[in-house]
Symmetry: C2
Subunit: 209 residues, 2 copies
Amino acid sequence: MSKTAGTKKKIYEAALRLFALKGYKATTMREIGKEVGIRQSAIYNHFKNKEAILDEIIDNLAKSNLINIFEDKEPKEIYKKGKALLKQISNMFKLISYNTETDTLFRFMMQELFNNERLRVFYNEEFYQKNVKKLSVVFFLMMQDEMIEATDPLLLANEFFAPLFFYQLQIVRLKADNKSTAAAATLFEKHTDFFWDKIRIKEKNSTLF
Amino acid sequence: MSKTAGTKKKIYEAALRLFALKGYKATTMREIGKEVGIRQSAIYNHFKNKEAILDEIIDNLAKSNLINIFEDKEPKEIYKKGKALLKQISNMFKLISYNTETDTLFRFMMQELFNNERLRVFYNEEFYQKNVKKLSVVFFLMMQDEMIEATDPLLLANEFFAPLFFYQLQIVRLKADNKSTAAAATLFEKHTDFFWDKIRIKEKNSTLF
DNA sequence: GTCTATACAGAGATAGAC
DNA sequence: GTCTATCTCTGTATAGAC
């Protein structure tokens, strides 16, 4: 039983890696088997068919760290941290693109986004909406507390989220060609600095001089 | 000869549409032929093989409107337009995601980004670098002219570009599920308003009241 | 230039021995 | 649970008639 579960996990992980690398359609059962060290036919002892592997991967995305940029903390517990919180979130995005496990998940998601409706539902609800909504609550609370200037919190959330996503995509793309990601990586921090500086309420004294 | 060119074009367009819809690997020569109204084997009178169609599509991307967000104008000719210029660029992104031709090109690009190195080169050089560099020249000139506050022009260019790309991706994704894109579409304008307001040099008088 | 026919390879999946 | 063997289907590509 333990050995079975071990093989199943190996199949799952090999499949995920290959799906992320070259896409679901382009990976064959034979390749997956080869990676695991078994014959292609043996996979069917663990998964009903190829699609069942894909489905299980998508099922597990919701439990992964790919989407958990808030580390399960609630907005009202953390909004007072102000800029430090934004730095922390921005750093989570950076970590996702550098950690081998989450970077694979991210690449898998982008690979299959247009080919799988369930994946798009996941992307929309768990990856995008959930985080942007949480972010907009954070910004709303910051406004109430007069930490940042009053404006549309949902817009702010989108404007903060979008560059982080984009820079993440850049990193993963650059890594696909084994190119340097150094310049792109600095943008996470610069974005947060720039963004916070633009939304925070400035002291009257220190406006320009 | 004219009829030949006509069929070739039909094949090209059917292939592009299908590649964008379900990916290169998942589209078959039979499907392409069916869309055109000929047998699969007849395609080989116009293209050497399946990959040749893909290559030709990628070759033509550089000539397409997908990347031409500046409408061939040089930064120094247009930077004085200030916010109006940013609005214009932002609107180009919006148009790309709504125009059937460019929206197909964009979806094709995102579909195959991780599966094709030549496409990644195109994305990086023509779609990303070229536009961001042009944008940073625009911002640099605006700074010199004291229209906007002095800061890193390249950062500004990235910060302006990233949300536009992200909102574009959102639209194309939503369209894939036949969902409403209304809310996402408003973000193009809101982004520009927000962004300009944050970078422009404010009159001392009209700071807060 | 398009058709039918066919070759050939690769893929997913199942059967049955061990 | 994994193996070999095999079935079946699908896909790319070519040959040759019209």
